[in-house]
């Protein structure tokens, strides 16, 4: 291809990619709205759609029905909202790590950060006998500390993705050993409580969780946009980036901290729900087919996966309510194997 043709072709391709990006974003938004509506409608307490709508508008219209309003406004709405907020949060944490480490498999639930949060939370539950918000804070602290330790240990005049991933896996194994040990040292009642936390559930979604997540996202989202743009501007690839030196490293570190914060807050709110962080980025990128970095789309996918998984967990089995983490885990496993097979067949994992 000659340079003369290229200019026109590039413009043409750019245009097509932008269209694709817009279509993907729009499609995901529509799906998310549908899933949200479904989450407000489905349930063992029968509420017709018109009643759902009336209930949603009741703060404005004053048309109140105590029973229905409780179900719609106090059960389904908080649950769906928290699913969306944490889904976004997990997804962004995943795609930040995947982007920075240039590896689709390098999400926080693989490289030890979730394990750190889990070990810390299980320690709080079993050894300290804590529950509720103190466990969440413990998880938060565990996630941040583990991330710092992994980063510190990976530092040898710089951080390579390769070292972070492998050291993260080592840390994950150590954290799992701590959890196993604590499990043998506790009463069954406490082990059940800890396990329930480990799987991750939206069952006790309250306004406190939602407010916490909303504040976290309000702070983190603009920061993410800022840092990602800064990185884009500086970075055309690792090699050129090193020329810019410390500033790139600082931005990368900042972005990584933001990624840890996303994972930590979401984990504190609903537990370490597996695979949402892991799958959101790759799904978004597959949909975009190279037409963007996919942060926004990944966030939408994350929200959709979380909300959809919870719908399945709630309504798939008639007699048993399962926590959302079970479904995301099973769904993620299938997707993961598929991703490995496809990317490996193409001859590259990266």
């Amino acid at each position: 291809m000659t340079t003369l043709d290229a200019a026109g072709t590039v413009r043409h391709i750019r245009h097509r990619l932008a269209t694709r990006r817009r279509l993907v974003t729009l499609g995901l938004l529509v799906l998310l709205v549908l899933a949200f509506a479904l989450a407000l409608y489905l349930g063992d307490y029968p509420v017709p759609p018109s009643e759902v709508l009336r209930s949603l508008l009741s703060p404005l219209t004053g048309l109140v029905d105590k029973g229905v309003d409780f179900i719609v406004l106090n059960v389904r709405l908080p649950r769906a909202t928290l699913a969306v907020l944490t889904g976004i949060s997990f997804a962004l944490s995943g795609i930040i790590f995947q982007t920075l480490l240039r590896n689709p498999l390098a999400s926080p639930d693989i490289i030890g950060i979730s394990h750190g949060a889990s070990a810390s939370a299980v320690f709080c539950i079993i050894a300290l006998g804590l529950s509720g918000i103190s466990v969440s804070l413990g998880a938060l602290l565990g996630a941040v500390l583990t991330a710092l330790v992994i980063y510190g240990l990976s530092w040898r005049g710089g951080v390579t993705a390769y070292r972070v991933v492998l050291i993260g896996i080592g840390m994950a194994a150590m954290m799992s050993a701590i959890i196993s040990y604590l499990f043998t040292r506790a009463r069954l009642f406490e082990v059940q409580q800890a396990l329930g936390w480990l799987i991750g559930s939206l069952n006790a979604s309250g306004s406190d969780d939602i407010i916490g997540m909303a504040i976290a996202l309000a702070l983190l989202l603009p920061l993410t946009a800022l840092l990602a743009r800064a990185l884009d501007a500086m970075q055309l690839g690792d090699d050129t980036a090193t020329a810019l030196g410390a500033r790139v490293e600082a931005v990368r570190l900042g972005l990584m901290l933001v990624g840890v914060a996303y994972a930590a807050f979401a984990t504190a709110a609903v537990g370490p729900v597996t695979f949402v962080a892991f799958v959101a980025g790759p799904i978004a990128r597959n949909l975009l087919a190279g037409s963007g970095k996919g942060f926004v789309q990944a966030a939408l996918v994350g929200a959709l996966v979380m909300l959809g998984s919870d719908l399945v967990a709630q309504h798939a089995l008639p007699a048993v309510q399962l926590p959302v983490g079970v479904v995301t885990g099973v769904f993620g496993a299938g997707f993961l194997l598929w991703l490995l097979v496809v990317s490996n067949r193409a001859g590259k994992v990266n």
């Binding site: 409780f70 009463r187 009642f189 396990l195 069952n203 006790a204 007699a319 309510q321």
Partner: protein, 316 residues
């Protein structure tokens, strides 16, 4: 507009209600000092598995039960008729809040665990259910009999008639079993017993003070060996399988919440370092799950039979 009219009627009824409610209010004060007051005696009750096991035999049938395991595995509920009762939770921390709301419950009855300062079922379930109805219940203490009596008082306040023949018969059967138990322990004043849980990693010796039924047994004349060092919460001493002969009881009580506990014990070569194990003086310990006279009577009978068969001078 018809719906508007209905609504105003409902509001009017609601406004009148407190006045009418004074006729038959229901109040219950739990051990934490919280009082629940309702306008009428509640009939739509959601019960935890423990509370259900306490109330159903007394004639109070909850509309729904939440458990932390498949309902078939809930030892406390075995043998009770659960037909017509919704099961709204069968896993730890999970409860079907919508089913619960559809039943329009007036009160949630759980059990309070003072050692964990928590209601049975765990925080997540309590948090989910508490907007629907106030939560209350009896408190676990140092005697199953007291616990059952607390359930009797609660059930009576809920309208149960304890003089009904089948309820009275349960109690009479229990009294007979208790008398037989006391006679058996009185006949063997030297007999010592040890309550254990067996895992592949170690043998766990129960502290009498950690289990209400063990304190009952103790009060009725059974010499239970108390471990020298219990864990930080005062439940167990962990004995390596190398040290199973640290205590030598005449009779061993094995936690019967799961049948596999005894199987595990029997599979350990050093289980028989205890003479009682060698002699087969082993019986079941109904650990932590008794909530009614019927179950207590049949469990007591098993222990009594084992005491009668045991050799009180075995360990000497």
């Amino acid at each position: 507009m018809p719906s508007r009219t209905l609504l105003s009627l409902a509001v009017a009824a609601f406004a009148l209600n407190p006045l009418m409610a004074h006729a038959a209010p229901w109040t219950y004060t739990d051990s934490t000092g919280n009082t629940v007051t309702l306008d009428e005696v509640p009939t739509r009750i959601i019960a935890s598995q423990d509370a259900a096991a306490g109330l159903i035999p007394l004639g109070i049938r909850p509309v729904a039960i939440y458990a932390d395991s498949p309902i078939a595995d809930a030892k406390a509920l075995q043998g009770l008729d659960l037909t017509g009762i919704e099961i709204i939770g069968q896993a730890w921390g999970e409860v079907d809040i919508e089913k619960a709301a559809a039943l329009d419950p007036q009160v949630v009855i759980a059990e309070y665990w003072p050692l964990d300062t928590a209601w049975s079922g765990g925080e997540a379930v309590v948090k989910a259910l508490s907007p629907l109805a106030p939560i209350t219940g009896v408190t676990q203490g140092d005697s199953i009999v007291t616990l059952i009596e607390d359930y009797e008082a609660l059930a009576t306040s809920l309208g149960a008639d304890l003089s009904k023949p089948e309820i009275a018969a349960d109690k009479a059967a229990f009294e007979a079993s208790r008398a037989a138990f006391q006679a058996a322990t009185a006949a063997k004043p030297n007999l010592t017993a040890l309550a254990v849980w067996a895992g592949t990693d170690a043998l766990y010796v129960a502290a009498t003070g950690g289990a209400a039924e063990l304190m009952d047994f103790h009060a009725w004349g059974l010499n239970l060996i108390d471990p020298e060092v219990a864990d930080d919460r005062g439940y167990w001493e962990t004995l390596s399988w190398e040290n199973t002969d640290k205590y030598q009881p005449d009779l061993i009580l094995v936690d019967n919440r799961q049948a596999s506990t005894l199987e595990t014990a029997l599979a350990q070569p050093t289980w028989t370092l205890m003479k009682a194990a060698e002699a087969g003086a082993v019986t079941e310990w109904p650990a932590f799950w008794l909530r009614n006279y019927g179950a207590y009577a049949s469990e007591l009978d098993k222990v009594t039979a084992a005491i009668n068969a045991a050799d009180e001078n075995l360990s000497e």
